[in-house]
């Protein structure tokens, strides 16, 4: 199979990206390869049903239930599937736990692999050249740009998602959260904390 076609078909499309999308959608619809209603259903899924709240519920449960935490670290695919979270770009999930000794951070240097069933579609920065290029070589400088400074004794472990395994960072539970409900805990878990570019938030009123 020819690998490098010097005469790429995509160059036949209009230069404006919005017109390029429209051209492709028109061609595919008229050829019967696309059901326009399916496009709307996909948008609905990732705008309204799947997003970082799924991952936050997993983290809050792991903080609250030691049995679930053990299951999550042992076989995250099965553990999150039990909460109804599975599917495209999350077929194989591994949870990695932050501790005072190790901080985990996730990147995909080759493209933009990301655990969709738990975090939804990725933000632009995750897909940016700057993050892809730098997260593996200088994670601490990248973390500083997110406002995160780690203690000297904490090592950084960067996971470059090169296969179909998707990584979920299990952040450390913030101090002052004893007795909080899973719902209240989940509210402290932002998307970036589950990628490893942020820490879980402290509860309101805590130092």
């Amino acid at each position: 199979m020819a690998h490098d076609d010097p005469d790429h078909p995509h160059a036949l499309l209009p230069p404006d990206p919005a017109l390029r999308v429209r051209a492709l959608e028109t061609v595919l619809t008229r050829k019967g390869l696309i059901d326009p209603a399916a496009l709307d259903a996909i948008i609905d899924t990732y705008q309204n049903r799947v997003g970082p709240k799924n991952g936050a519920a997993v983290v809050a449960r792991a903080w609250s239930d030691p049995g679930f935490r053990a299951d999550l670290l042992d076989d995250a695919t099965a553990a999150v599937s039990g909460m109804g979270f599975h599917g495209r770009q999350g077929e194989h999930i591994v949870a990695v736990e932050n501790t005072p000794e190790v901080h985990n951070m996730v990147v995909c240097t080759l493209c933009s692999c990301y655990p969709w069933p738990l975090l939804g579609v990725p933000p632009a920065w995750y897909k940016s050249d700057a993050y892809r290029a730098r997260a593996v070589r200088e994670p601490r400088k990248v973390l500083a740009e997110f406002g995160v400074t780690l203690p000297e004794e904490t090592a950084v472990r960067v996971w470059d998602s090169t296969a179909e395994v998707r990584y979920l960072v299990l952040p450390m539970r913030p101090k002052g959260t004893d007795g909080l409900s899973e719902e209240a805990l989940a509210a402290l878990v932002g998307r970036d904390a589950m990628i490893g570019t942020a820490l879980a938030s402290a509860p309101e009123g805590a130092a």
Binding site: L24, T26, L28, I34, L39, W159
Partner: protein
């Protein structure tokens, strides 16, 4: 040897802008449309995920650098549609203007009512394999150098250049997974054991930030030798 997408460790990209914290992430309407169109086109089964990555990576390096993220996806999709014969160059060039409305959907098309099930099922990459695992957690391994597809010269591979010829240790075995180097070129799934392998930052970078920092990559058995 390398392709433009293989940018891990590259210098010169400037700071990351982390300000978009909302969900869904900020996106132009055409970007959202490009995402959904790509998912729906991929669901036809005309190509697999490894082929779609190969197509995006094969974009001219000048285009790759110039294109925004979803423009790369659109370029890969357009090229695959022609490569698989689903759409002709003429149909693409005319933006479908010469085509009449279709009366019924192609059997391969993703129907709206099937969307939740298809997205929920996804496409698992683990397979039974006759290739026995030769490494266990804790084993020292060495990655091949150069990082390159050994089946197709210049072909798709998932060993980044920055991790070629590096010594690491196996952290975990993920079981056998489809080998992208084969599947991306229509040469079969060729599943083989996949491992998470940890490398000291000092093994990869001239000026590591911290003596205990590590980078972990998922690597197929054929990317590795005993060290």
């Amino acid at each position: 040897m390398t392709r433009v997408h293989d940018m891990g460790g590259r210098f010169g990209d400037g700071p990351v802008d982390p300000t978009d914290r909302a969900y869904p992430p900020r996106a132009e309407p055409w970007q959202t449309r490009a995402l959904t169109l790509t998912l729906a086109a991929g669901a036809t089964g005309l190509w697999n995920i490894d082929m779609s990555r190969r197509a995006r990576e094969a974009v001219d390096p000048k285009d790759y650098a110039r294109f925004s993220y979803y423009e790369k996806w659109l370029a890969g999709m357009a090229d695959l549609l022609v490569e698989t014969g689903a759409v002709s160059r003429e149909e693409l060039a005319s933006a479908g203007e010469g085509l009449s409305q279709c009366d019924e959907l192609d059997p391969k098309a993703l129907r709206a009512e099937a969307v939740p099930g298809v997205l929920a099922r996804g496409g698992p990459a683990d397979r039974d394999s006759a290739v026995m695992p030769v490494f266990s957690p804790g084993d020292a391994v060495m990655t091949l150098r150069p990082a390159a597809n050994r089946l197709v010269d210049g072909g798709h591979t998932r060993l980044p250049a920055y991790a070629a010829g590096a010594r690491g240790r196996v952290l975990r075995c993920h079981g056998a997974h489809v080998l992208p180097d084969s599947n991306a070129h229509g040469l079969g799934e060729a599943p083989e054991p996949l491992y998470a392998v940890a490398f000291a930052a000092s093994e990869l970078w001239a000026a590591p930030e911290h003596p205990r920092d590590e980078v972990v990559l998922d690597l197929w058995q054929s990317y590795l030798c005993p060290a």
